[in-house]
């Protein structure tokens, strides 16, 4: 009886370990990619800030009070408690939507020559990776039909509606929002990854 239980638990572990290890590998890849994107975003932002005059900087600080990121419509956990309360799937889907929301605007990210061009394809790759992760986990397929409808309207119009002299502010906001969103995705993915891995020190 005991041995049967033991056997069963071992078997279940064995069975479940395979997708977990695969998922872990995918997670690791996704996490590293989003980390890289976040670093890129940070660099862009700091470059942009350093290129500003101090007067402009002060103005921008004031302006940024009216935060408006294009991804604000995506409801995402904003503290640890909420994050840990969310399921892996929810975290993944939120990450997916965040990444997707930046696919288009990232092309207009100013700030240096090369990084801008790399960001959009990297985002696409990351999006694909997250999709894989979603599909790998259970109940993955259900979430998708409705999410695709939400993408286009908000940001597309928003950034084009601003006038020319506000381009500086727009760039600043764009970069700041991008940086923040990337960090969000990074955190969610890391938490999700750690949630899936059995060992305690999952951040290794």
């Amino acid at each position: 009886c005991l041995s049967a239980v033991l056997l069963l638990s071992l078997l279940s572990l064995g069975v479940s370990s395979q997708p977990i290890t695969d998922g872990q590998r995918l997670f690791s890849i996704a996490v590293s990619r989003v980390q890289h994107l976040h670093l890129l975003a940070q660099r862009l932002f700091s470059d942009f800030e350093s290129s500003l005059q101090t007067e402009e900087q002060r103005q921008l600080n004031k302006i940024f009070l009216q935060d408006f990121c294009n991804s604000d419509y995506i409801i995402s956990p904003i503290d640890k408690h909420e994050t840990q309360r969310s399921s892996v799937l929810k975290l993944l889907s939120i990450s997916y939507r965040l990444v997707e929301s930046w696919e288009f605007p990232s092309r207009s990210l100013s700030g240096g020559s090369a990084p801008r061009n790399q960001i959009s394809p990297k985002l696409s790759e990351l999006k694909t990776g997250i999709l894989l992760l979603i599909k790998a986990s259970e109940d993955g397929a259900e979430l998708f039909p409705d999410s695709s409808a939400l993408q286009l309207p908000p940001y597309g119009n928003y950034y084009q509606s601003l006038s020319a002299d506000e381009s500086l502010r727009r760039t600043y906001e764009l970069l700041a929002c991008f940086k923040k969103d990337m960090h969000k995705v990074e955190t969610y993915l890391t938490v999700a990854k750690c949630r899936l891995s059995p060992e305690a020190n999952c951040t290794l």
Binding site: F68, T187, T190, C194, T203
Partner: protein, 640 residues
């Protein structure tokens, strides 16, 4: 009385007002400033501010904040947890990825002052606590110790759930040092430190940092002392020293034993001459006649040929049979002593070298051979001979200023290039301009000495491959008189000059012409109206010059430039081409009666006069048996 009252009033007034004027003044508070905000674990955060002047009145500070995209203003929930002038935001009040706009207000009875607002995003202000539970232990790896440092992340930081990712860094130093050695440990919580000094005392500290945030403070120091393992090192050194000393002794002993053979190996002795029939001792004794008599061949050179019409050939057929002849030719030397060489087959160590040896005297030159019959075309051989001859001259206390002549690789007997004619005279520099003068000089010398060295001309790649011979007539020409030096020298110079001239020009051509003229020795016997010139060396011991009377092919050697008293004729050849023919091309092959000098010679030569050619072969040994001249083809000296 009135005055006193007024004074009193004034005094009172003063007393009343001075505190106001000179004493404390109350004012609204100064502007406070937010110094920093920090979050230790990305769940809570604290902000500190610096108050401004309080204006003399009790001032209170309040912190107000706004979250992004919301106009509602909140006040700091906790002013005390974090200490003085601080505000602590607990978990419930902290939102990540939300921009906080924080302002501090200082208020007193007279007014209030607002600080500059500060935007804070908790994510970017994380500074964790230092790592905890740090341990350092000594472990051994194959006898060599190392330190193992391990630690735990700060308690508050939630790395387990992945909420925070930390990287660690540690630093080590010896107690007496000032510089810390930094090591980045990444995500891991243990680290090994190697290369320890035995008996040293080490200090270790660790700190951590979230992936986007600030470094924590250094943890508390851990001390560790490394045990001694010095004795083990010492014994190794002792062994090593003894071993090396032993080896050194052995080597010295070996060297001593084999010193002689080593010396032979490194500094081999110079080989002496090995000529068949040549007796070193005899030479040392100084009787040259006896020496060379031993080397002489009775029949050589053939002087009995009465029918020198045979010798009068329109052209010389020259073909290079094979190595043998080459070797044979190479062995020939202009000196009499070289005759032996001619016969001797190539000797591995002394073949031509012996011929080149300085022991051969100039005036013991071998008889010149008739050249017509020789079908050896190896001009290189001739060159070699010439060189040997020259060297023989050299023996005669000639000082050679080695021009920049092409240095022939005579080493192996094949003079590929024009022999590096050592210009015996200093003025025989490599200057081509000197050529003419030098040639003239040489000519003089030749004339004076009446023994000429016919140098094998070096044929070029021309199909004809003539070897050009320089030879000078050993006739003294009054108008050509120049300061006479030693016979040999003059001749040498002349020949050398010629050679040099030729060679210089020819050298770049890569004188490797296969179709070289045979080393043919021509002996000028007599003169006839047919422009047969008999050249006699003035001084015995020089090579005889034999020349052909005339180049049938348009070469006009019939002009006699002059005759000296000793029946030495100086023939002058008409200048056919613009350039001088360094040698008379005896090889009448194909009938190009021009100077079959190297094409390069032709092209590069400056237009100079013709060269005198000593011509045709004579059979008789009119000339004394001196150094013979190899005249396969004779080159005329440019004297025109």
């Amino acid at each position: 009385m009135m005055k006193k009252a007024v004074e009193l009033v004034l005094l009172l007034l003063l007393l009343f007002f001075t505190p106001h004027i000179m004493g404390k003044r109350y004012s609204p508070p100064g502007k406070p400033t937010l110094t920093r905000c920090r979050s230790p674990e990305k769940e809570t955060f604290t902000c500190w501010w610096e108050p401004g002047s309080d204006g003399g009145l009790p001032t209170t500070h309040a912190l107000y904040y706004r979250k992004e995209s919301s106009e509602r203003v909140y006040e700091c929930p906790d002013y005390h947890t974090a200490g003085e002038n601080s505000c602590f935001f607990n978990k419930n009040d902290t939102s990540i990825w939300v921009n906080y706009n924080i302002t501090v207000v200082a208020t007193n009875t007279l007014g209030s002052a607002f600080s500059d607002p500060v935007d804070v995003d908790v994510v970017y202000i994380v500074k964790p606590n230092p790592p905890e539970k740090q341990t350092v232990t000594i472990m051994e790896d194959k006898g060599w110790p190392f330190l193992r440092v391990s630690w735990e992340p700060p308690q508050k930081a939630d790395t387990r759930s992945g909420w925070i990712t930390l990287i660690y860094e540690l630093r080590v130093k010896l107690e007496e040092e000032n510089e810390w050695e930094m090591h980045l440990a990444g995500h891991q919580k243990t680290f090994n430190i190697f290369s320890l000094r035995s008996g040293g005392k080490y200090l270790v500290e660790v700190r951590c940092k979230p992936d986007h945030g600030f470094w924590s403070e250094w943890s508390s120091t851990s001390y560790i002392k490394v045990p001694d393992y010095f004795h083990r090192e010492k014994s190794v050194w002792i062994l090593l020293t003894i071993f090396s000393a032993f080896i050194f002794l052995i080597l010295t002993w070996l060297l001593h034993m084999n010193s002689r053979s080593l010396k032979n190996c490194i500094l081999p002795p110079v080989p002496g001459p090995k000529i068949k029939g040549f007796d070193n001792q005899l030479l040392k004794n100084g009787k040259s006649d006896e020496i060379f008599s031993a080397l002489m061949v009775s029949n050589f050179p053939p002087t009995t040929s009465s029918n020198y019409e045979d010798l009068l050939v329109e052209y010389l057929e020259v073909y290079v049979p094979v190595e043998q002849e080459l070797m044979q030719e190479e062995s020939k030397d202009l000196h009499g002593g070289c005759l032996k060489c001619e016969r001797s087959t190539s000797d591995s160590d002394s073949g031509r070298g012996s011929c080149d040896s300085h022991t051969l005297l100039m005036d013991k030159c071998g008889e010149t051979k008739e050249e017509g019959r020789h079908t050896d075309r190896a001009s290189s051989r001739m060159l070699t001979e010439a060189q040997r001859h020259q060297k023989g001259w050299e023996k005669d206390t000639l000082t050679y200023a080695h021009g920049d002549m092409v240095s022939p690789d005579m080493s192996n007997g094949r003079v590929k290039t024009w022999p590096s004619v050592f210009s015996p005279l200093p003025q025989y520099s490599s200057n081509p301009l000197d050529k003419q003068s030098s040639l003239e000089m040489a000519k003089q010398h030749c004339l004076s000495t009446s023994s000429c060295l016919t140098q094998p001309g070096h044929s070029t790649k021309e199909a004809l491959g003539p070897s050009n011979w320089d030879f000078c007539l050993g006739n003294k020409q009054p108008h050509l008189l120049h300061p006479q030096t030693q016979v040999g020298r003059q001749l040498q110079a002349h020949s050398e000059v010629n050679i040099s001239n030729i060679g210089r020009k020819q050298a770049p051509a890569g004188l490797q012409s296969p179709a070289l003229r045979s080393t043919e020795y021509v002996e000028v016997q007599r003169v006839n109206e047919e422009d047969l010139v008999l050249l006699q060396p003035v001084v015995s011991g020089c090579g005889r010059i034999e020349g052909y009377p005339q180049m049938p092919k348009g070469k006009d050697y019939s002009k006699v430039k002059g005759v000296d008293s000793d029946n030495m004729l100086l023939l002058q050849r008409e200048v056919m081409e613009e350039d001088w023919c360094p040698g008379v091309d005896q090889e009448i092959n194909g009938g190009t009666g021009n100077c079959y000098t190297s094409s390069t010679v032709n092209t590069t030569q400056k237009p100079t006069a013709c060269i005198h050619t000593a011509m045709p072969v004579q059979g008789d040994m009119a000339l004394a048996m001196n150094g013979y001249v190899d005249t396969a083809t004779m080159c005329t000296l440019p004297t025109c």
